[in-house]
Amino acid sequence: MSYSDWLIQLAQTALVLGTAPLLSGVTRKIRARLLRRQGASVLQPYRDLLKLIRKEAVVAGNASWLFRAAPYLIFATTWVAAALVPTFASGLPLGAVADIIVIVALLGTARFLLALAGLDVGTSFGGLGSSREMLFASLAEPAMLMAVFTLSLFAGSTQLSSISAYMLGPGAGVNISLALALVALIIVSIGENARIPVDNPATHLELTMIHEAMILEYSGRHLAVLEAAAAVKLLLYLSLIACVFTPWGTAVAGAGALAYAAGLLAWAVKLALLAFLLVLFETAIAKMRVFRVPEFLGIALMLGLLGTILLFVSKVSR
């Protein structure tokens, strides 16, 4: 590991944090345009975050230390997880230390803390949000792991950089297991990021909300940090899908500045495309009833399982 590799890693870590609000701004703008509204500027999330940081943080009287600490811990774990996903360059030092299962575990930790924070103050909405989140997580997490297992069995590695490199090589082709893993990952990312068929990120309607219910009691800088963490999480999932299924253009560590620039451009294009597809799906579909969400996530679990099983057959025929 050379000095410059760490520099690129640091740049990447800063990049995911810096561009995450922009990504959520872009998705909101596309959504507004698709609904024939003007929409706020794509920079609006930055302004929101800045406003929230300046505001006073109001904390409930009976809140414990956990309530104050949780936002920072959630933010930190999510940020670290996002830094592990190759964005414009792969084969980075941190990626070699931690594989995709670590990313899932870090996200699970963040979810655990968020559910605890939702319960901490003892309001009914927080508890409702936490219980729903845990119910869905019990299906979404195994589904994510099954998709990860399919990918790692296919590529023979759990390192994201190696999987990405394998996808570029001649070994990968049109494979049904990959398609199943992709669909499973997409469903899980929709569920995990509280996007439309599962949850609505823009509403405070008590019947449907999950993520918003848990963070209802937060304000000021705590809320800012949680919002930032949610934006980083969306970026993480989109980068993950882009890195594994469309690995073209990603620079390899140690390549020249030109390759890095090309990688950056490719990453931006891929993310913009994925964001557009996500929003298109969101505008085309209606919000699901809460009790149908386990079925929706169960499909992801089933697809992941099926992908793994079918992989054994395709290994035979090769």
């Binding site: 399982l305 079918l310 035979v316 025929s317 090769r318």
Partner: protein, 220 residues
């Protein structure tokens, strides 16, 4: 045979298994018929790809039969029957989807575990196709067991038959005479079943097959 060829064969046969799961899951009548039509399209694609790989022109006829009979005629006819029976708006009560799906996955696992060691002497294509075909057949059986509506049981039966054709096409193809006669016998079975459907409806005022159990005195 290049890796891409086998990948495409794998993709088509695998998508048949996936569509069988969709059949198992779907509880709306028209959506069920659409999925069944796609099931037949996947079969036709799979058989046609085998025909191309094996340089066996008569398999193209098999694919054409699958495409015309099962992909177009039967779904359209079933659609009309569903409308005439007046059940096109009803949502079927499928018995517990979650356990059924898990059971289905177990069946797929079982058929792969059984088929791959048994067919070790054969080429990779045959083994793969047989494993997938057995899964499709077992899933068709499962659908016939779990559904109570007669029309969905018919679809389960037809998807089972699709699995049989898939198995035959992998094993160097059936003789064309057998193929055509099977194709026609399915069509005739379909006609007989559809006549029975109306008879059942006339007699019991429903196509829910639990009514039949009741008339035999088997239900509680």
């Amino acid at each position: 045979m290049s890796p891409l060829d086998s990948d495409i064969a794998h993709l088509l046969a695998g998508s048949m298994v996936l569509l069988s799961f969709l059949l198992l899951y779907q509880d709306r009548m028209f959506a069920l018929l659409n999925v069944f039509a796609f099931h037949a399209f996947a079969l036709a694609g799979s058989v046609a790809w085998q025909a191309y790989l094996q340089r066996a022109p008569h398999l193209f006829i098999t694919a054409l039969i699958a495409l015309l009979f099962k992909g177009v005629i039967i779904p359209v006819a079933l659609r009309r029957i569903v409308v005439r029976l007046g059940i096109h708006r009803s949502i079927e009560t499928v018995v517990s989807i979650g356990p059924t799906m898990l059971f289905g996955i177990a069946l797929v696992g079982l058929s792969i575990v059984v088929m791959l060691p048994v067919t070790q002497a054969e080429g990779p294509f045959v083994r793969e196709d047989l494993a997938f075909a057995l899964s499709v057949v077992l899933l068709g059986f499962l659908m016939m067991v779990t559904r109570r509506n007669a029309v969905s049981q018919v679809i389960g039966f037809m998807s089972l038959e699709n699995g049989l054709v898939l198995a035959a096409s992998g094993a160097r193809g059936m003789p064309l005479v057998v193929e055509i006669s099977v194709g026609f016998s399915v069509l005739i079975a379909f006609m007989v079943i559809s006549i029975f459907l109306f008879r059942i409806r006339e007699r019991f005022d429903t196509v829910d097959l639990q009514a039949l159990d009741m008339s035999r005195g088997e239900a509680l």
